[in-house]
Symmetry: C2
């Protein structure tokens, strides 16, 4: 099976990860369904000043979870201010709706004006996924 060989014996995501969708706060790994689905990769470098960034980020995650088609989020920020946040979406329509959400648009504008030194957003279609969890090897 090609998928098993891919990443050092990794197993297909849906076979192995058992926690429910949207558990991003409890686990750094989003539990997503079998591909295809969509991902928005947001890579950024923060400004030093923390002018309410944490509150806006938390609120955006809270809002995203309520959106139709939301599958999960993965977010990591390092001490140096660089960060990657990936949100997963069932369809291209659902990620477009999230992009157009009014409160999200305000946060996007704030991101443009003050939170970040630089960022890149990439919209992707997830074609394949593999996962590994310790203690779950067969």
């Amino acid at each position: 099976m090609a998928s098993v060989a891919f990443a050092g014996g990794g197993l297909r995501l849906h076979e192995r990860l058992s926690y429910p969708p949207g558990m991003s706060s409890a686990s750094p790994l989003a539990s997503t369904p079998e591909p295809p689905y969509w991902a928005v990769i947001f890579t950024s470098v923060r400004e030093e000043a923390d002018d309410g960034y944490g509150e806006v980020a938390d609120r955006m995650e809270e809002l995203a979870v309520q959106q139709p088609g939301y599958l999960g989020i993965e977010s990591v920020r390092a001490a140096d201010g660089s960060g990657i946040t990936i949100s997963y979406w069932a369809t291209e329509e659902s990620l477009r709706a999230w992009k157009a959400n009014a409160e999200h648009r305000v946060a996007q504008r704030k991101g443009h004006e003050g939170f970040y030194k630089a960022w890149v957003t990439r919209v992707c279609k997830v074609e394949r996924a593999y996962a590994f969890e310790l203690g779950q090897e067969s």
Copy 2:
């Protein structure tokens, strides 16, 4: 222009990011060409013990850069051990070749055996990209 409206006034990547491809060590944002291209998202949770992980990770980045079709890498790891590494590839063939690289396969096996509590690998096609860099607004 739809792309400008997307992420709070974000501009298309190729118009704005001027540093050369592969500058992942100097900048957390990979400079990638106009989509489409490919991304491999690797989200992971590290084991506490550091049994040579840093050396293997550095060596893998050094190797990846030499692969045909390599476009760049973005990697962030937080203090709690969770991390996201994304490598970008010109074609699906180039990411398959990297996956099959002999030394990379050894590292994948090590990842399976000891470095991580859990990981997910997602192979994606990047459809659109937008970027913002402070001081480059028009």
